[in-house]
């Protein structure tokens, strides 16, 4: 069932335990995301979209079912293994940027590279490349407080891509930005998806932001309820296969 170089969720359930209460968040969810796909996850608060994003990003384990990303069953990895896996395969973009305020833009972007064996010179090259890719050349010595919100998010994106990960996960990346800055960030994400073939899974409440993705998936009460294809140019074979499978999953859920 699982496809190499793709994200496959099979019959995934997630429950949280709070004291004596068991809170189901996701129930029997099936999902396929092809390599190079830009997917927007939408849904009302509490629908489970962020929980789904956490499972895909390896930040949490499914209670039941399998989460296979890039050929790796995440449920089989220990805490330290999955931490290492994240550092090599996933780039994170947060709504509030979450930059380290005492570090410069350069140092923030360099952080994930400190976990590698790269030389200082090579790290510098990679950081400068990432900053150039997000249009922040010349801002490397600026601290987060010296940057605008949009620029901070660009630094966060540079930090997410500097290790050249397979997958980018973004939780409302434009949720704290004005429209112009949001458009710039969405342009950048599209560019990363198009030019660098990054697989992007983005949670958003913003329909305009979601429209920038290749596909919209809507969740409600822990289930996929709608699959909207937005960008025909993504119709590579693997993407089509993933979409068909998700359509079928949604129809089964509805019936």
């Amino acid at each position: 069932m699982s496809q190499v170089n793709s994200i496959v969720l099979e019959n995934v359930s997630k429950q949280y335990r709070r004291d004596d209460f068991v809170i189901p968040v996701l129930a029997g969810l099936d999902l396929r995301i092809a390599e190079g796909e830009f997917l927007a996850l939408m849904g009302p608060s509490g629908s489970g979209k962020t929980t789904l994003l956490n499972l895909i990003a390896g930040l949490d384990y499914a209670t039941d079912g399998q989460v296979i990303v890039h050929g790796q069953d995440l449920g089989e990895l220990s805490d330290s293994e999955i931490t290492r896996w994240r550092s090599e395969n996933v780039g994170f973009i947060f709504q509030l940027y979450n930059l380290i305020p005492v570090l410069t833009a350069f140092e923030n972007v360099e952080l994930p590279l400190l976990l590698t064996n790269l030389t200082r010179k090579r790290r510098r090259q990679n950081v400068m490349t990432a900053l150039k890719a997000v249009g922040l050349e010349g801002r490397e010595d600026h601290y987060p407080r010296q940057l605008s919100g949009g620029q901070e998010q660009r630094v966060a994106i540079a930090r997410a891509i500097v290790t050249d990960p397979y997958l980018l996960v973004a939780d409302e990346p434009t949720g704290d930005l004005d429209r112009n800055s949001a458009e710039e960030i969405l342009d950048l994400l599209q560019q990363l998806n198009r030019d660098f073939n990054k697989t992007i899974v983005m949670v958003t409440h913003d329909p305009l932001a979601a429209k920038r993705a290749g596909r919209e998936l809507h969740l409600d009460k822990g289930k996929l309820v709608k699959n909207i294809e937005l960008r025909p140019e993504y119709d590579a074979d693997s993407v089509s296969a993933a979409r068909s499978a998700d359509h079928q999953s949604i129809q089964e859920t509805a019936s």
Binding site: S80, I100, E107, L111, P112, L114, R159, D171
Partner: protein, 388 residues
């Protein structure tokens, strides 16, 4: 080393808190060094005189009771004793100063044989013997008071009922670990003054008798023999090595010594809580950042290391300033100048400073341990709150 910059930036993130934590560590360690060094120095001085082969005979009733002067001659006559001298603490005032420096009535003809580690020019030794009101003072005392040979040295009565109008006839010198602030004068002169001007009150007595023994092997036997001789007399004695005599002073504070150690420990423990609280606050403020670090791949061990390194840096640096500051301060400031011979030298030994440094590093480590473990165990999802 790759993370050093990050650790340093974090330590400077809240400068006031970092400064206060460091300052509390610095002050506490400085004071702890002073308390611990007092006893360490006393013991070190006692150890250093171990090789000088001297025994001290005092009254078995304690230092407040004198020893009859005849004991000096009797002890000096014992086989194995090279020389003996009375050693009477006069405790007079100099000008308007109360307890300005230590003054002792001694035998000018034997004192330099008993204290053979001190050096005095021969002509000054001779003058000390010949001039009844002569006094020989230590080099540092001479420097402190700007005294030179020929200067008058009037001492006013305090313990004894007579004043002593002395004249400096010599200046002795010695190695830095010797007390170079003493004043020796002729015991006979004091005794004559007591007889002529105080009706003989307190006359014919020595405070203690100090004897130079030919070899260390003889000291236990001689000590026992001396005390045995006077056991049934009106004035029984207690004889011990000079090392034991010196240690007796710190042992007089036996309970106090233990209490000070406990107080020092209590200070360090409370310091641990202060530093621990500061680190815990710092980590609480950085919960989201910690979660981000873990999300992007920082493993638990690395998170623990980073937090501990920061805690050790702050507390360790404060402790280093406190301990090494105390070391340097007391190396530069001669405390003996202000303690009237009660504390002829005071310094912070390297061994004590290193213990203090180790303690401050331990405090840093221990204060960071709980916040470090909490940060390492922090769920990324809980830390991010908004998740991802």
């Amino acid at each position: 080393m790759k993370f050093l910059g990050y650790i340093l930036r974090n330590a400077r993130r809240s400068p006031v808190r970092t400064f206060l934590t460091m300052a509390s560590t610095t002050v506490s360690l400085f004071l702890t060094m002073v308390l611990l060094s007092y006893f360490t120095v006393n013991d070190a001085v006692a150890d250093s005189i171990k090789l000088l082969n001297r025994i001290v005979t005092m009254s078995s009733q304690g230092l407040a009771q004198p020893v009859p002067i005849a004991r000096v001659r009797e002890i000096a006559a014992l086989e194995g004793v090279k020389a003996a001298t009375p050693f009477s603490w006069y405790g007079g005032k100099f000008n308007e100063e109360v307890m300005p420096f230590a003054q002792f009535g001694v035998d000018p003809s034997t004192i330099w044989e008993v204290y053979d580690e001190l050096s005095v020019p021969e002509e000054q030794k001779k003058a000390f013997v010949e001039k009844r009101d002569g006094a020989v003072i230590g080099r540092r005392l001479a420097q402190d008071r700007n005294l030179k040979v020929g200067d008058p040295l009037p001492l006013k009565q305090d313990l004894y009922p007579v004043d002593m109008n002395l004249t400096v006839v010599g200046i002795y010198d010695g190695t830095p670990d010797r007390d170079l602030r003493m004043c020796f004068f002729n015991w006979d002169f004091l005794n004559e003054e007591l007889k002529s001007r105080a009706n003989g009150q307190m006359a014919d007595n020595a405070g203690v008798v100090i004897a130079k023994v030919a070899s260390a092997d003889l000291m236990p036997t001689l000590s026992k023999a001396i005390d045995a001789s006077y056991a049934n007399s009106d004035t029984p004695t207690r004889t011990q090595t000079e090392e034991a005599f010196a240690k007796m002073f710190s042992e007089m504070f036996g309970d106090l010594k233990g209490m000070i150690r406990w107080i020092s420990l209590a200070v360090l423990v409370s310091l641990l809580f202060v530093a621990g609280n500061a680190m815990a606050m710092a980590m609480r403020e950085r919960t989201t950042e910690m979660a981000v670090l873990k999300a992007i791949g920082f493993r638990r061990g690395l998170v623990v290391t980073l937090v501990l390194a920061e805690a050790v840096l702050v507390a360790g640096l404060g402790g280093a300033i406190g301990t090494l500051g105390a070391k340097v301060f007391f190396d530069l400031v001669d405390l003996g100048k202000y303690t009237a011979g009660m504390l002829p030298f005071f310094f912070v030994p390297w061994s004590t400073a290193l213990i203090g440094l180790g303690a401050s590093l331990f405090i840093g480590f221990a204060s960071g341990l709980l916040p470090a473990i909490q940060s390492a165990r922090l769920s990324v999802i809980d830390g991010l709150r908004k998740v991802v």
